[in-house]
Symmetry: D2
Subunit: 297 residues, 4 copies
C-alpha cells in the first residue's frame, strides 16, 4: 500500500503553514518515526497554555501532623509555546508526573513545575491539582470522631519571573439567615454552604490551618458524625450566630487580613438557600502587598 | 488509491463474525455505499438496548393551562436488536425525533416510540427525555410571582406487549428536622431537599399536578421570589411542620396512594443536611395493581 | 412566647458589628418587619460581588435569521457592596430578571445590568447567563437537516467606567491527530473536541457567526444527522485536515485576528483524546486594542 | 425560656401521626434528650431504603498483586424501615463505616452490610461504594509505564434471604467505526468510549481481571503514557479492529459468558462519537443461572 507517501503529501497541502524541521529528532529507538511536533510553525501565534487536562492520579500529600495521606487528584499541566514551535510533547508531562507520586508538598510542586518547564523548554509552566482531603474531626459534645472531606486546590506557575504557589480549600459549613431569624416568631432558615479560600503566602500554611480559618467564619461548622447531644449544640450554635453570605466573606476577610503569612486571597461563599432553588453568593479578593505598596506611596 | 477494496478485505479478516448481507440495501442515492449495519451477525447475542444517548433537543410541551412551553431536553432513544442483525441505523433516531419537535404530550411520546420501533423494525423501543420545566408560583404573603424550575423525566416503552409511559418530577423543597427542633432550646436545622416522584398512570396526570403533590409532602415549598413578609411565613411554616426524610416519603406515599389515576410510583427524597457534608435519603416504590391483585387472591 | 424579643437581643450580642439603621425601610405593607440588610456594617470590608447564583430561567434570544428562540438559561447576578452596607436585597435581582424574559439581546442585557446597578444602588453590576442554543445544520452530502446544540455564555458588567459585554460559544467538533496520521501505515486517531471562544466586540456579532468561525478551525465540524454518504465525507475531510490542539487554537486565533468587529478574545480547545483517558488542551488570549496601542507608541 | 415545651406541643399538633414511644431510649449520657426516631409511626408505610448518601470516605482496597491501594470512595448506606418505626439512626451508619476504613474486600463489605443490618435492626441493608482505582499499564511498544484510572462500583445487599455482592468497572477505550472505515477512501472515525460491566459472581473476581475482560472487547485499549512508536501501534490496532457499539457489547458478552465465575452481568458501552455531539450506546443484561434453569426444564 503506497498510502503513507500519498497521505503525507496531502497533509502538506492542507496544512501549508507547517514546514519540515531542518533537524530531525533523534530519540533513541524512534529514528524512523517523524517528530511532527518539533517542526517549525509559521502562523506566528504564541500559545499561552498547552498541555494535558483531566488526568486522574494518586498523590501522597504531607499532613500537618507529620504523616501523609494518599489523595485521588485531578491534574492539569500546561506550558507556554512560542510562535515558531509546532507543538509540545504531551507524553512528557505524564512521565514527569510519575516522578512525583510520593510526597507532594508545595516545595515539590514548584519543583515539578520547574522540571516541566525545563524538559519542554518552555518560558512558563502551569500545574493545577485538585483533590478531596480528609481530616478527622470530633463532634462538639460527645467527641465522637469522624472524617470530614474538604476540596483542595493547588496551583503553581514557574517562569523566569519567579514561581507562584497558590493553595485553595473549599469547606462545607452551616449558614443561618439573620433576617429570617429576626423577622420570624420562631425558627430561622439555614442551609449548607460551601466556603472557599484561595491564598498566596510568604510562609508555609497547611491545609488543616486554612480549613480552621474558613470554618470559623460560618454560623457553625459541619461534622461527619453527630449524636443527639451534638445535634443540640450545632443547632443552637448556628441560631446564636446568624450570618448573611456577606457576613461570612467579611468575617473570613478579617481573619485572613490578620494572618501575616497570607499575602493575597480570593474568598467566596455559596449558600444553598433552603427557601429557594437558587443560591446566595459573595466574593472578595484582596492583594495585601499591593494595598500596602499603595499606602506607602 | 485502491484502498477501499483492500480495506474491505482487511475488515472481513478482523471481524469474521460478520457476513455480508445477502440483500444489499437500496436507499435512494446510496447504492454504491455498503450498508454494514444490515449484515448478518453470527455471535448470537441479542442486545437489550442500542441507540443514541445524550442528544440535546428543544421540545414543545403542552401545559396544564392550555398553552405550551419550549424546553431544552436531553434525549436517549434505544431499540432492542435481535441476535442475527449486525447493527441498528443510528441516524434514523434523529430523523424521527425531528418530526416531533412541536407539541410533545404523553400521547405523542408513545407515538414517537412506536414509529421508532416500526422504522427500525425492532421488538421494543425505549425513549427517555429529561428537561427543566418552569411554573409560575406566587409568594405566600405578598403574592409576588416568580418562575420555579422543576426537573421532569418522561420514559416510554413500546413493544408487542403494549406501551408504558412514566412521568417523573423532581422538586426542590425545604425539610426541617424534628429531632433537632425537639432537642434544641431554640432553632432547628433545615435545608434544601430534592423530592422525586416517578409515576405510571391510568389517566392524564399533568406535570403541574405532580409538582403540587410532591410539594405538599415537604416541611415547606421553596419559591423563586420571597419578600420579607414571605420569608417570615416560610420560616415559620417549616418550623411548624418538621419532617424527617422518612416523613417526607411516607406523606408523599399516602398522597399518591389516594390518587386513583396513579397505578405505580417510585419516590425518594434527598436532603442536603445543613449540619453534615453528606445527605439523608429515603425511597419507596409501590405497585398498586400488584398489591390489589395480591389482595384479591 | 417571649422568644422573639430575647432572640433579637441575643442576635445583637453575637453580631455586635451590625448597628441598627438610622432610617428604617418603608416598603409598602412591610413596615413592621425590620430590614436587616439595610443596616450599617462596621467591619470595613467591601464586597466585590454579592448576589444570586444558579437561577434557572427561560429567556427568549433573538436569532440571526430574524426570529427568536426560547432557551433554558442558568443565570448569576451580582453587585458590588460598599464596606458600610450590611447586605444587598437578593429578591430584587429575581424581580428585575422577570422584566427581561422576552427578547434578550446584548443591548437588553446591558440594560438589565444597569437596572440592577440602579435598583440596588451599586457601583458595579455583573450578570452571567449560559444556555444551550440550537442551530439547524445540513449534512454535507445529503443535505439532511438536524439541530446542533451549542453552549453559549453572555457576560455583562455595568459600572461608572462604562459597560462591558462578552459573548462566548463552545462548539463540539472533530480533531484528527497529524502525528498519528503521519507515523501510522493507515488510520489516524481522532476524537470529539470542544472549542470555545469568548469575545468582546465593537459591533454586533451573532452567535451563529461565532459558531461558524469556531467550526472552521477544526479538522471537521460535527453534525446531528449523518447518512452514509455524509459519513464518508466527514471521515475523509477530517483525514485530509489533521490538526493538533495547538493548530486548532492557532487557526482560530488567525480567524479572529482578521475579524475587525472583535477587539478581544480568549479561545481554547479541549480534545477528548481517543487513545488516552485524559484530554489535550490549548488556550490563547489576545487583547487587540492593547496590542495596537502598544504598537502605536 | 419556656419555648421547648411549647414547641414540643406544637410538634405534636402538626405531626399527629407520631406517637411517643412507650419505652424511651437509654443511650449512655443522652438520657435527658428525647429519641424522636425511635417513636412509633402510624402511617403504615414501609420504607424500602433510608440512610445516608454521598459520603466521601477513604477506603483501603486489596489489589490483585497482594498489596493495597487507598481510594477516595463515595458511599451510600441504606436500610429498610418497617411501617411502625418512625425513623432510622443516621449517625450509626457513619460510626460503622469508620470501623471498615482499612482493608475493604468483598468479604469485608458483606460484613459491613450485615453489621449495619444488625445494629439498625433492619430486614435489609444496602451499601454502595464507587471510586477511582489506579492500575499500572505499560505502553504497547516502548513498555513505558503509566497509571490508568478506572471507575469501580461495589454494591452489597444483606438480608434474611442471603447476601448479594456486585462488582462494577467502567474502563475507557478506543472504538473505531466499521461503517466509516468501509465506506471511506481513507481514515475512519474513532473516539473514546466508556465500557462498563457489573457482575455477580460465584468466586473472587478481581478489579484487575474485570478491566482486562472489558478492554479486550474494544477496538483498542487506551493508555496513560504513549510515545510515538506506541501511538503508531494503537492507531493501527484500532484501524485493524473496527467495532460498532453493538460489537463491543456482543464481544464482551461472549467473554463474560465463557467466564464460569460470573453468574450474572449487565454491560454497556457509551461511545463519544467524534462526528456527532451525541453518543452511541448499547446495553446487554444476562442472568446465566436463570437461563440455565430455564434450559433445564
Amino acid at each position: 500500500m503506497t498510502g503513507p507517501l500519498f497521505l503525507r503529501d496531502s497533509t502538506a497541502m492542507t496544512t501549508p503553514q507547517t514546514l519540515p524541521s531542518p533537524t530531525m529528532p533523534s530519540d533513541a529507538g524512534q529514528q524512523a518515526i517523524p517528530d511532527v511536533q518539533s517542526r517549525t510553525d509559521v502562523r506566528k501565534v504564541a500559545i499561552d497554555r498547552v498541555g494535558v487536562k483531566g488526568i486522574r492520579y494518586p498523590i501522597t500529600v504531607a499532613t500537618l501532623e507529620g504523616g501523609c495521606e494518599t489523595v485521588d487528584a485531578t491534574v492539569n499541566m500546561y506550558v507556554s509555546l512560542p510562535p515558531e514551535r509546532k507543538g509540545t510533547h504531551m507524553s512528557r508531562f505524564l512521565e514527569l508526573l510519575n516522578d512525583f507520586r510520593d510526597g507532594l508538598t508545595p516545595d515539590r510542586m514548584i519543583e515539578l513545575s520547574q522540571r516541566i518547564r525545563n524538559t519542554l523548554d518552555a518560558a512558563c509552566a502551569h500545574v493545577e491539582m485538585s483533590f478531596s482531603y480528609f481530616i478527622q474531626k470530633r463532634a462538639p459534645a460527645t467527641g465522637k470522631a469522624g472524617l470530614m472531606d474538604y476540596k483542595v486546590r493547588m496551583i503553581c506557575d514557574a517562569s523566569d519571573e519567579g514561581d507562584m504557589f497558590q493553595l485553595g480549600v473549599t469547606a462545607p459549613a452551616t449558614s443561618l439567615c439573620p433576617c429570617s431569624k429576626e423577622i420570624s416568631a420562631y425558627g430561622a432558615h439555614n442551609q449548607r454552604c460551601l466556603i472557599s479560600a484561595d491564598v498566596r503566602t510568604n510562609g508555609m500554611v497547611w491545609i488543616e490551618e486554612l480549613v480552621e480559618l474558613i470554618e470559623s467564619a460560618a454560623s457553625c461548622p459541619v461534622y461527619s458524625v453527630l449524636k443527639r447531644p451534638d445535634e443540640k449544640v450545632v443547632t443552637e450554635q448556628a441560631y446564636d450566630n446568624p450570618k448573611f453570605v456577606e457576613d461570612i466573606v467579611r468575617d473570613l476577610a478579617h481573619t485572613l487580613d490578620a494572618e501575616s503569612r497570607i499575602d493575597w486571597y480570593r474568598i467566596h461563599s455559596e449558600n444553598f438557600e433552603s427557601i429557594h432553588s437558587h443560591n446566595a453568593y459573595a466574593e472578595v479578593e484582596r492583594d495585601k502587598l499591593r494595598d500596602r505598596d499603595g499606602a506607602d506611596q
